[in-house]
Symmetry: C2
Subunit: 141 residues, 2 copies
DNA sequence: GTATCATTTTCCTGTTTGGCTAATTGATGA
DNA sequence: TCATCAATTAGCCAAACAGGAAAATGATAC
């Protein structure tokens, strides 16, 4: 149905959400890891994750205090796999995505414990620019 | 780049624009034909067409007083073909799309001349519901 | 139980967007 | 040259949306 298609396409039609999808390609991440990379408020990330989940693009798993998200493998939205494949095939050479991946490699070195406590401050100084949102959010949207 | 991706995905993330894309799959149509099928104001359609064109999804051709639009075959936006393919592979069984196609078959019987003059009134009575926008636009957006 | 803490939800703000009508554009044809 | 007419642009409004701060959840650990 066209509403179902609309839900997924709207979910994908936002740069922050696309960045999240690209970030999750290698495997699952908890909310505070995603937050550290994207540099947005936790509440904002949480809302984006909810939108992606409703669209059938993500699945959720709780482990103790942390909630892990991953790309959906089982699709209740028939269009979700197509969109996931398209995103996976896109933006491989995008600078914002590259920077997100670089940050992720730093984030991966820090125990979740510490990361949730300190956020970006837990990352080695000098390797993280202060401006949140990396290079994606300049100028008018 | 992620902005380019965003432009296309936003263009696709609207039901009226998806309906236009599906409508153009068989071949080009002029603005007043599209308007007659969708049942929206001409200005609205024109704006949608502009958005799709900017996204690299459509191309334009002028013939006398009429402007014909068709799916883009030459892509200045690298993501456009992927999205077009995805849309083409989707919604084949959607009732709104089916109704649009039925209306299109009626529209195709009427000379563009007459159609631009009279709009939906040029179509055989009884085969067109009064409610514009078919079944796509119910409820809150 | 109770405090802690990651995540979610609620509420607010400024911006974007889809729709309309009215005005403008630009090509046609008398 | 001027009237006509399809299409576009401008201007407006209400709804939707991305973002943040603050309150609410809900699981853990003491």
């Amino acid at each position: 149905m066209i509403e179902t298609f609309e839900t997924v396409s709207k979910a994908v039609a936002d740069p922050s959400r696309v960045r999240i999808l690209k970030l999750l390609e290698p495997g699952e991440l908890c909310v505070c890891q995603i937050t550290a990379v994207l540099g947005l408020a936790t509440a904002t990330i949480s809302k984006h994750l909810a939108a992606l989940k409703v669209a059938g693009l993500l699945q959720q798993r709780r482990d103790g205090k942390w909630v892990y998200y991953r790309l959906a493998d089982r699709a209740f939205n028939p269009y979700a796999p197509r969109f996931l494949a398209m995103v996976a095939a896109s933006l491989e050479d995008d600078p914002t995505i590259a920077e997100d991946r670089r940050l992720l490699s730093l984030v991966d070195q820090v125990p979740v414990q510490v990361l949730c406590d300190q956020g970006r401050a837990a990352l080695p100084a000098g390797l993280v620019s202060d401006t949140p949102g990396a290079s994606c959010c300049e100028g008018p949207r």
